[in-house]
Amino acid sequence: MTTTNEILVPAGRAATLPREENWLRPPSQLEKAVGPEWARLIKGILTNPLSVLGILIIIGFIVVGLFAPTLAPAPNASWDPYNIPRDGFLPEPKPPGTAWVQNVPSYIPAWYALTGNDEWVHLLGTTGGQYDIWYAMVWGTRTALIAGTFVVAVSAIFGMLVGAIAGYFGGWIDEVLMRIVEIFVVFPGLVAVLVLSSVLVPIFGRSIWPAVIALIVFGWMGYARLLRGDILSNKERDYVIAARASGAKDSLIIMRHVLPNAIFPTLVFLSLDMGAVVLSFAALSFLGVGVEPGYADWGQIVSFARDYIISLDTFWYVIVYPAVALLLYGLGWNLLGDAMRDILDPKLRKA
């Protein structure tokens, strides 16, 4: 007994159909698992070479963050791992390969044999004040990932909530909420975050919290606008009118139909935001309102080079390593976000 598909399309012919007629072919395993839109997105980002590069970069950072205790062990058991060990207090940075005397990591991990050294050396050198760059880079990856994800998650949740309320209720609630969004949006991102961070420092002390809170307070607006716009544009669609006509409640329509479709542009925004937040965080640390001095963070490392800008070619390593890390991190998320946008934007599909 032949299936319906085989009656419409002879066996084996489906694979040769042009893409636009792909609806004739039977659904793949992936499509059966997650649905056709998600399947198209996943397949798209896994086949586009640039997005694969982005994903690999991100995975690389996650791996480094996961293995931080092995890659850069703390000097002793009671050491707060985010505190960068200082090999003395001399103000001049030391080049890569310098011997490590004080606050040396407590043991030599298995991979260390690859560097060809017996004892711990400063693999990437030290900054002004003798903070080990390798340690700061490794644990800074953790900081970037955790702080970045936290900021993006909270601002996304809050923003989407506001956007959903505005989109669902419409009317004056929508107007008021959008005006509030506009008030926050008026300020350029870094300026607003800088101001709020410095205001919060007397309250939270020089910890990671002023920057994180400031980034959330001025980071949620994009999500709100995006989701609201999606809900509004979907509200007019025929399928919503039809669903409403057949008696479905508004909330059900939004949950079951509108939201799953609206999530895709939000994904693009999320991906780009992940990169942007970490870059902003690094800029804040560089300007001195990010984290406390000595906390493992990429921007911190660069801020230690501020006094040595003139002799930059001698102390290039203080800047180049965190710069490369930041560039790669932003690049990874940007490539992924751009690829997702290209896949999801129907206008560009044929480009």
Partner: protein, 354 residues
């Protein structure tokens, strides 16, 4: 269209009011004692001094009263003089600048304006011109290279790019130096015989017919301008390119070609004009990005503008300067977004009629 413009104009004061609310609430995060230290030149040392300041400025009164005082000013109950009042131009005293905040904003603004205006040259010329070129040579080498450069430019954090520029062009090659003027010219400028008409070094140098100063100022501007421009240029290139590609696909282009128009006329007369409309929508984002970039760029290149003022204030936790800077930005961008919104509606007839 007029209803849209009128609506925007009516909403603008509400937004401005909301902006002042936001800044005021940031100020209120600190308690009265902490705030008292912000209002005077010397940090008060004794409790009675602190209390005197609290009384003078009304720092412990109910919030709505404090907002009123902060905006309009307050008559000091003891001396009878009027103090404070944002609407009177009293933004407080800046500890880092050792002058009133409003004065500091006035002094520093032209330097930043000069930087931003010069940065617009590579941004617009490079971004739009290269975006058009890339779209016209779709998927050829020019296009691919432009896209890669644009993605890189967009991904590089500004302060990293600035430091790398310093590393290459100052530390290694010594072609360009940070700062605004070389010491010899700075002395000449401050000594006399050089009138500061606009406080913008390049403009003033030209107006004073001092081409050596002009050239020196320009040399010092090159690095910060390029740093500022890179990120915005990348964005503008991408938007121009995708907008051009979309316009090129439209039916009217096919019609124009079928009519027999030369390709160049089609491009210049129709496509480019329409493709530049979406560029207006990102003008706001570009301006905001410029302001963000200015803060970091001026710090690294030691350029005495608004950004450096803000960064120094942030480092010293000089809250009043920061809030004055925020207020300045708020007012500036409310006006800018209004202009951009109106411009967009005026330029695109499709919006007008919908």
């Amino acid at each position: 269209m007029t209803t849209y413009i009128i609506r925007r104009l009516l909403i603008m004061p509400i937004i401005l009011l909301g902006v002042t609310f936001l800044i005021f609430s940031m100020l209120q995060i600190l308690g009265p004692v902490q705030r008292s230290a912000l209002y005077v030149r010397d940090i008060p040392k004794t409790d009675s001094q602190v209390q005197a300041i609290i009384n003078r400025y009304g720092l412990d009164e109910p919030i709505y009263k404090q907002y009123y005082y902060w905006m309009v000013g307050r008559v000091d109950t003891q001396t009878g003089e009027k103090v404070g009042g944002v609407l009177r131009g009293e933004l407080g005293y800046s500890r880092t600048g050792r002058q009133p905040v409003s004065e500091m904003l006035m002094t520093r603004f032209p330097a930043t304006l000069e930087l931003a205006v010069w940065a617009m040259v590579p941004i617009i010329a490079g971004g739009i011109w290269m975006g058009i070129k890339a779209a016209l040579n779709h998927n050829k080498l020019v296009d691919q290279v432009s896209r890669v450069l644009a993605t890189l430019g967009w991904s590089v954090p500004t302060f990293v790019f600035a430091l790398v520029m310093l590393l290459i062009f100052y530390a290694r090659l010594d072609w360009f130096q940070p700062g605004r003027l070389s010491t010899q010219f700075a002395l000449e400028v401050s000594r006399g015989g050089f009138t500061q008409y606009t406080n913008m070094m390049t403009v003033d140098a030209l107006l004073n017919l001092r081409f050596d100063v002009f050239w020196d100022a320009l040399r010092h501007l090159i690095m910060p301008v390029v740093t500022l421009a890179v990120v915005q240029w990348a964005l503008l290139l991408r938007v121009t390119r995708s907008s051009m590609l979309e316009e090129m696909r439209q039916d009217y282009v096919r019609t124009a070609r079928a009519k027999g128009l030369q390709e160049r006329s089609v491009i210049n007369g129709h496509i480019r004009r329409n493709a530049l409309i979406p560029v207006i929508t990102i003008a706001g984002a570009t301006l905001a990005g410029l302001m963000n970039g200015v803060v970091v760029t001026e710090v690294i290149f030691n350029y005495p503008g608004l950004g450096k003022m803000a960064a120094d204030a942030a480092l010293q936790l000089d809250v009043l300067t920061m809030l004055g800077f925020a207020l300045f930005n708020g007012v500036l961008f409310v006006g800018a977004y209004l202009i951009i919104d109106v411009l967009y509606v005026v330029v695109d007839p499709r919006i007008r009629l919908s």
